[in-house]
Point group: C2
Chain length 319, copies 2
């Protein structure tokens, strides 16, 4: 829920003039996304999303993110595509911030994901992985092992404020993952943040994927593990094995998972649970009072981590 | 900046089915407005605003607000109009809250109001007052004298936390206004919250007024006084007498101001400054840490109040 930058109407009109998208007739800040300022703009030609990239996004990563969206959209994946200005550039500047106009994608994200949503999601992840194979740019996942080490260092002194013993649990888990993190799995472009609010549906159809601002180059199967965490737990943190099975099976129909990927799934899911536990914990401990963004509960991911710690094999996920 | 209620996609689709506006293809929470949850929805037939009325809005006031918008829109004022469901009702319920779908208004609110904006605004206020004359419902202004008394009682113990001496300044001002508040001025429907973010422009045209959720029955000239405060001070609180003059003159061309109204303008402006000082002070002292909404600076209105306290007559506003 965020609009960090106010865009004066005159500046907006001037900015939009550099594009062949008509004249702005309306501009509304959108209360979604926590990293950037997003506006839904309507012009005399159509609807678009204007994004101003705020501090948490590294400027040097933007060509990767925008290039990836363009690459995937060109290959027919339903995702927003950056609009180029008349000078051929998609990445420009507005109100002192990097800014881009991207195409508007119809659909709504599911507040209560169903089994069918998970099944459709599985195919979409595989489709993304396949269409991303020949994307030329690389971006290391800075929220994998080395990123977790930094986050642990920056949260361990105060983690027990959230729940006693949390710091020790996290340090043990990190040590385990450092020793057991898989090697040699297929690497490619992953979305890395495919939570329900980044997946749009229209009726019985998945209408598109949005928000590629955590995308990076990492194990493809890790993207599936992230979705196990983000989609397959119910409200009270019970794992819904049917959702997991449907998601993985529909993924594997398009891109078969190797034996090594299947075997690694519990570890990848533990890593993914630790990743969101750590970033949420960091935000929880560091959000300024009066901040626009309500921090998310880190303990939700502690519960998910505990589930994966018990998982002996991919059978825990219904396969 | 606010979306207080999440609307599940299934509930939204069911809600919209009761209207003849097509099927929802997109729904975005809007980061504007501090009282209610607003969503920009697109359907197969067009764009609409969905509003869920939150706690601060009194349910029993909603027929006045929605009826007023309908009345004004029917008379040709450019403002949102409530859409009626197939059962003829505009006010319905969604996610346990009163909810309405209203028409979408093109235009953008000016982040940096110009003299021309103020001139166009003057005519729009007069137009609203004239078209509201035969609106049958009444709603007392609960943010006039009696409301200020309540707010003073609820803030005086802690007002000096914001700036020493503030409590005394406010109590003196309230005593002055109680003695000198005008009587017998023309009464009618006023908007009562015509800040720049509630007035849309498209190029050189005022395209409409929105957010009638403070509208009430009060002195028409008080609406002008509110706009003197909301539009005619520059960033560092200098009063821009040209903006004021243009606004009042264009207002008076459509609805001439009486001698009594002109004479009362400094007092009305003081009352309006006190009203926003008090509500901002209350919010400043009472906003919960981590709230979505950043409270606005009450001291801006202390400076404005000081200006009007010096005003000897309407000549201070350029007339």
């Amino acid at each position: 829920m965020a609009v960090y930058t106010e865009v004066p109407d005159g500046d907006l009109a001037a900015f939009v003039k550099a594009y062949d998208i008509g004249e702005v007739v309306s501009c509304k800040g959108i209360a979604e996304g926590v990293e950037n300022s997003n506006f839904l703009i309507r012009t005399t030609k159509g609807s678009y999303i204007l994004t101003l990239y705020e501090k948490r996004v590294n400027r040097s990563d933007l060509p990767f993110f925008l290039g990836l969206m363009e690459h995937l959209a060109a290959k027919g994946l339903s995702c927003p595509t950056p609009i180029k200005a008349s000078d051929g550039e998609a990445l420009r500047e507005l109100c002192g911030r990097p800014a881009a106009i991207i195409s508007f994608l119809e659909g709504m994200w599911p507040r209560r994901p169903t089994e069918r949503h998970c099944q459709l999601l599985g195919s979409a992840i595989a489709d993304l992985h396949i269409k991303g194979r020949d994307f030329a740019l690389k971006r290391p996942n800075n929220l994998s092992l080395s990123g977790w080490q930094t986050l642990v260092a920056n949260t361990k002194d105060r983690a027990d404020e959230v729940v006693p013993g949390l710091a020790a649990t996290i340090e043990e888990e990190l040590a385990f993952l450092e020793k057991n993190w898989p090697q040699g799995l297929e690497i490619g472009v992953i979305h890395a943040d495919l939570f329900p609010d980044n997946v749009f549906f229209l009726g019985d159809r998945l209408s598109g994927l949005i928000d590629f601002y955590f995308a990076c180059t990492d194990f493809l199967a890790y993207d599936v593990a992230i979705c196990l965490n983000a989609w397959c737990f119910e409200q009270k943190s019970e794992f819904n094995v049917t959702k997991a099975r449907l998601m993985i099976e529909s993924y594997a129909k398009l891109r078969p998972l190797s034996e090594a990927e299947l075997a690694a799934m519990p570890i990848l899911a533990r890593g993914s649970a630790l990743r969101f536990l750590l970033t949420r914990l960091y935000d929880w401990l560091n959000h300024p009072p009066g901040a626009f963004v309500q921090p998310k509960d880190p303990l939700e991911y502690l519960k998910k981590l505990r589930f994966h710690q018990q998982a002996k094999s991919v059978a825990a996920y219904g396969l």
